[in-house]
């Protein structure tokens, strides 16, 4: 298992290197000038030139890239060009809300989507199945920000059950936290619920055709045991896989959700950073999210072994 883990980590190196080169080139080969973002629109060209010189933006690209990679290898992600703060510190400040939002959305998803998918597969072809599929296809089709606004319109503005915006950390108390994160969590979860319930249903449909499910039924087991003990555990791997690849989708949702609900998370930070051409910040965020993606998918691969004893990684 450890060997497997190490091997996968080794494999992640070229992946991350590709990401690093790709992102660096993407940013540097496109127009836009961070000096302008620092100095504001009324700054003169002399001023800009001076700032560029100080920031090292006039160095050749290869030098800039090597410096950046070298620093990163030492754990130094650099400082924001705009705010002149360490990039990691800025990311750290914004990480909490985003992680909380993602976890809440994921929790809601699992609570809602798994039973939905299992039920739909169990009653395959029936009304429940059609209803679940309808909910899921609608979840895929309505943009998150529209869902967000509808939720705000109904639950925050009309019913006044929830605040319209903002974020409170868990440290500020459980209720304020839950109260503020529920709607954005739900909005973000919508597309995920659609995805996971679909995947659960499909995977369960497949598993329910398996011989061992027939065996379980032949043993006269209660249907709930057949579904949740025998079938769902076997259906777990494709579901887990989607949870992993869906992480990228989650990030897209986070960016939009944070904007709609005004949550000071990474999503907004990255949009701001892109608009301001804050190269080190953009690079660090993309690299970190890519790294997280790789890591999450690695962990998910490892977790297969927990659900399926046949998988013993060499």
């Amino acid at each position: 298992m450890l060997t497997y883990f190490l091997r996968r980590l080794l494999m992640a190196i070229p992946v991350m290197f590709f990401v690093a080169v790709f992102v660096f080139l993407l940013l540097r080969l496109t127009p836009g000038d961070p000096a302008q973002a620092i100095a504001g629109d009324q700054a003169s060209l002399d001023q800009l030139e001076q700032i560029r010189e100080t920031l090292g933006l006039n160095e050749p690209l290869s030098v800039q890239f090597l410096t950046w990679i070298g620093n990163m290898a030492q754990g130094d992600f650099g400082r924001s060009l705009i705010s002149d703060r360490p990039v990691l510190e800025m990311i750290g400040q914004r990480l909490g809300p985003t992680v909380a939002l993602a976890l809440v959305a994921m929790g809601l998803t699992l609570i809602i989507a798994l039973p939905m998918g299992v039920l739909a597969a169990w009653r395959h072809g029936g009304m429940t199945d059609r209803l679940v599929m309808a909910v899921s296809v609608i979840g895929f089709s309505v943009p998150i920000f529209v869902i967000g606004y509808i939720l705000i319109g109904i639950f925050a503005v009309n019913l006044r059950w929830f605040p319209v915006q903002g974020y409170k950390a868990l440290a500020d108390g459980l209720w304020p936290f839950v109260h503020r994160i529920f709607l954005p969590g739900l909005a973000l979860a919508s597309i995920y619920i659609a995805l996971i319930s679909r995947m659960t249903r499909a995977s369960m449909l497949e598993v329910l055709r398996e011989d061992y499910v027939r065996t379980a039924r032949a043993k006269g087991l209660p249907e709930s045991l057949v579904l949740f003990r025998h079938a769902l555990r076997n259906a777990a791997i494709p579901i887990l896989t989607v949870v992993g690849t869906g992480f990228a989708m989650m990030i897209s949702g986070v960016v939009v959700t944070e904007t709609v609900f005004n949550i000071p998370g990474l999503g907004r930070l990255v949009v701001d950073a892109v608009l301001a051409r804050d190269y080190p910040l953009i690079q660090a965020i993309i690299l970190l999210t890519a790294g997280t993606y790789v890591l999450i998918n690695l962990l998910i691969d490892l977790s297969y072994a927990l659900t399926d004893p046949r998988i013993r990684y060499q």
């Binding site: 060997t3 061992y212 065996t215 039924r217 006269g220 209660p222 555990r233 399926d308």
Partner: protein
Amino acid sequence: MTATPPVLSVRDLKVSTMGRRPAEILKGISFDIHPGETLCLVGESGSGKSVTSLVTMDLLPRGELEVTSGTAALNGEDIVTASPARTKALRGAEMAMIFQEPMTALNPVLPIGLQMDEIYKAHTRMRPAERKTAALEAFEAVSLPDPPRIYDSFPHQLSGGQRQRVMIAMALALKPKLLIADEPTTALDVTTQKQILELIRKLQEEMNTAVLFITHDMGVVVDIADRVCVMRHGEVVETGAVDQVLGAPREDYTRALLAAVPSLTPRPARAQQAPEPVLELEAVNKVFAFRPFLDKLLRRPGHRVQAVSDVSFRLDRGRTLGIVGESGSGKSTVARCVLRLEDPTSGAILVNGHDIAPLEGQTALEPARRAVQMIFQDPNRSLNPRLTTGDSLIEGALNAGEPRAEALQRAGELLEVVGLPRDALARYPHQFSGGQRQRIAIARALMMSPDVIVADEAVSALDVSVQAQVLELLAEVQAKRNLAVLFITHDLRVAAQICDDVMVMRRGEVVEFGPAGQVLAHPQHAYTRALLEAAPGRDWDFAAGRRVTEPA
């Protein structure tokens, strides 16, 4: 037959598919099983024998199949009309079932113990400790080694035979009145099959269980059945005691079925003309080695599996060499090396005198590829479903530069040779039956005018009547074209009927090699003897229609 009431009594049972245009799967079948009796439902694929068992267990796939009329009474209680809760209570307790595939019938992600425990938990009020004791005893009863270890194991840690024993232990855990066994030994090697059949027989006698045994294999019928029920297209063709049905079949269909079972007695040796070797193997070895990048980095050895060790043989024109063995014996790997679908690790493979072992790439292999052609096991997968028969047949010819029209002409002729109409050229594989597809595969091999045909379990997936026809065709073609055939099979009966020479393999090594008459009639090696003894129905002479006392 006894006067006691039957455990299971099926009357006029009809089952149809659901949907827009229902098709009748069972057309009104009836039979009884009494306590302590084994009834064999025998028939070819599509005869409806498995559906019968599912109706009895009330496990028909919902929304796909439904009972349209008739009854299936377990101890007088009709399963068809019983409530789902009631049948659930009966399943596992009063009636139990063993399935064909021990690999898939156990839940792979749950420990064996838990899967056993569930049965007691669902149907009894036993306490956890009692349940565990009962489970261990049940494992003991099916002769599983080290029951506590089995209890904690996962299915994949057990061999196929052990898994089937676990299935039997589960099925008989609560001493049901009725045991349904649906092809329980089909997926097993012959030696294991023999043990499992003996086990079922023994436990049945101990518990006086009624057994509904479903099989396609007449040999198995001989070994286990008290009575036989021959089915075809959803109807019962003939029922009766085993000796009566097999010895004096009343129906043509039964007779044809019996006649198609190849005999274990080797056919008389064929005269050999001047030996002309077309295929020679010299000390061929094949090692599968896995050495991941990290292992290389850490200078660690990888995993090695010796699949074939030191195999040598010579195959002459016009002769058939059979390679027999159980799964994992390396017989298929030998075939794939001959075809260079695998690269042999060492040794020489001489095709018409040229060593093809060191050759690389399609161009270099081209002459050998023309000389050696293959017929695969599964006719469903060996033809590209998206190409017409004609396109599949002429692919090799086109590669060799033959004009399309000419190739199609030849393909049409060959279709007639293998017994298919010429207009089959324009059709797609799914429009043919399995046997017909295998004929097409033979035609495709013949299109290349090969010297050697490698047939890897080429008739294993076919029903016995079709199997006989395909074997016949193969023999006919071989004779006409003076082909050499390398025939890979696990079935000694088939080997006995078509091989000139037989090579027995076990764990990659050649155990015994010689003329078929000698190897199969007077085996020298203990393993060969064990194989022969395990062959199902060996004490029944299908040609004569009577029991034999001495093995042939």
